[in-house]
């Protein structure tokens, strides 16, 4: 039985991996020596999820439209199941996410991978987001209401 804390960490790491570039993950995997062994349990498969919105943004759910998603399941050498879910149709990326998800469940690897792969991915996301928010902030305006009829 996994603790809530483990599940939260896994959730956070999967979120970081899903937003990483495929090449970045490929390079990070290449740096691991010897190359980790894994078996593909469910080969990467592209499908759809129905994106739900809410009436008025906060009310009852409705079906807004679908998006493409790719998923993959692998089993690491120690038997841990790695699961990858990523937006889009990149099958190799879904497999890489699954591989890292399996590796990150290994207590002997998690520290290293957290600092080599997850932390940089989270930082890149933060930087991208800050860049967007700083440009948005530069377009903030004050409209002065002009009194009519004077």
């Amino acid at each position: 039985m996994k603790s809530d804390h483990d599940a939260k960490n896994r959730q956070r790491r999967l979120a970081a991996l899903a937003r990483s570039e495929r090449e970045t993950l490929e390079d990070a995997l290449d740096r691991i020596k010897p190359p980790p062994r894994y078996d593909v349990v469910k080969p990467a498969e592209t499908g759809l999820v129905m994106v739900r919105g809410r009436a008025g943004g906060s009310g009852a759910p409705f079906n807004l439209g679908e998006m493409t998603v790719t998923r993959c399941v692998v089993r690491g050498a120690d038997g841990a199941l790695g699961v990858g879910y990523v937006a889009g149709r990149d099958r190799r990326k879904a497999e890489l996410v699954a591989i890292f998800d399996a590796l990150l469940q290994d207590p002997e690897r998690v520290g290293q991978l957290e600092s080599d792969v997850i932390a940089p991915a989270e930082q890149r996301r933060r930087e991208r987001q800050d860049h967007v928010l700083a440009r948005a902030a530069a377009t903030r305006v004050d409209f002065f209401t002009v009194v009519r009829g004077e």
Binding site: A7, A18, G47, L48, V51, G59, G65, V69, Y85, A136
Partner: protein, 367 residues
């Protein structure tokens, strides 16, 4: 009625070969890449995703390239493609209040927490053709503020509705699974979740015109743009293999909260009511048109007299889908030879009868 015909294979193949050549245009001009369309024709891509009802910018860009820029054709291609994929399930409903905002404006409250944020907008441009764009060149970098916006900006209406003069939208504690028009036909009276899905997929031009008609007096509902926001929203999915919601990534989304006058009814005090519109990517015109029509379609629920097209649920929902509409209109181009032959026979028969009657009448008069 259209009757199947045989033959014409060679002519059809040749026509499609010519189409491919026309698509490419002058070979002396460099060919467009899908990435160029995705990056530089982004609003066309966004519309194809919204009405194609499939978020995938690369696929939408490819569809636009294949369709020679024809939006409805590209939307049709995306709709056809989605039928080849299996559905893994439905996402956790989006939390648009946690959007990473690029643009957020309100036309009803001047001072909103976080401010009025224009973002990358066509508003306030002079609509003068920019001939500098005819020559290539990189635009100067957009200015960057020292202090970025907050990570999330709460919804204007939620924050500024202290007196509860505006209707609130609260998620029911046990929301039923919303109906899904990709798997079941429209039914009437259509619940709001069904209407919203139909409108979200609906043709922008149709919804824009209907929304406009309410402003001009055909089902007037006195709208104000309570809030328009555009930005990135995280998509979460309850993965069966994981037992928790996993973040798939982020999608760009536009949302419009329309606030409308309402006199009140026997059960409701006078208050402002709301209409909701949304689109994938940056699609403000679509979101606003949709919000106006969503509100108009609530007429019966709010005890208003249904007098105009925009308030007529069957009329709106049955005619909003441009893939269905173009299919039925354009099928008229297909051979209707047999049908037309039978109509010709009928017309000839009617003429004969009319002539005989006339002759008989003349003969009678002569006697």
């Amino acid at each position: 009625m259209y009757v199947a015909v045989k033959g014409g294979e060679r002519a059809i193949a040749n026509a499609h070969a010519w189409l491919a050549e026309e698509r490419r245009g002058d070979p002396a001009v460099p060919e467009l890449t899908v990435a160029q369309i995705r990056e530089q024709q982004r609003l066309a891509v966004d519309r194809v995703m919204t009405e194609g009802s499939l978020y995938d910018p690369d696929l939408a860009a490819l569809a636009l390239k294949q369709a020679r820029g024809d939006q409805v054709e590209a939307i049709f291609l995306l709709r056809a493609y989605r039928t080849t994929l299996t559905r893994f399930g439905a996402t956790v409903p989006l939390e648009t209040s946690r959007m990473t905002v690029r643009r957020r404006v309100s036309a009803i409250f001047k001072d909103v927490p976080g401010g009025q944020v224009l973002g990358p907008t066509f508003d306030y441009t002079h609509r003068l053709l920019d001939f500098a764009l005819a020559a290539n060149g990189e635009p100067p970098a957009a200015p960057i503020a020292e202090t970025p916006l907050a990570d999330t900006l709460p919804g204007v209406i939620d924050v500024l509705n202290r007196e509860s003069l505006i209707e609130t939208e609260v998620a029911p504690s046990e929301a039923p699974t919303p109906p899904d028009l990709t798997r079941e036909p429209l039914r009437f009276p259509a619940p709001r979740a069904m209407r919203l899905q139909n409108l979200a997929r609906g043709d922008e031009g149709f919804l824009l015109a209907l929304g406009y008609s309410t402003q001009r007096g055909y089902g007037r509902n006195h709208p104000f743009a309570g809030e328009i926001r555009f930005g990135e929203v995280t998509v979460e999915f309850e993965a069966p293999e994981l037992g928790f919601a996993v973040e798939l990534g982020d999608i760009e989304l536009t949302e419009c909260q329309m606030v409308n006058q309402f006199a009140g009814s026997k059960t409701e005090p006078p208050q402002f009511t709301r209409g909701y519109g949304t689109s994938f990517g940056h699609g403000e015109r679509k979101a606003m048109g949709m919000a106006l029509v969503d509100r108009a379609l609530r007429a019966a629920e709010l005890g208003e007299e249904v007098t105009s097209p925009a308030q007529d649920t069957e009329f709106v929902l049955y005619h909003s889908d441009n893939v269905e509409a173009q299919g039925f209109v354009q099928h008229l181009k297909l051979p209707h030879y047999v049908d037309f032959q039978s109509e010709l026979t009928v017309i000839r028969g009617m003429r004969r009868t009319a002539a005989q009657t006339r002759e008989a009448a003349l003969a009678e008069a002569a006697e």
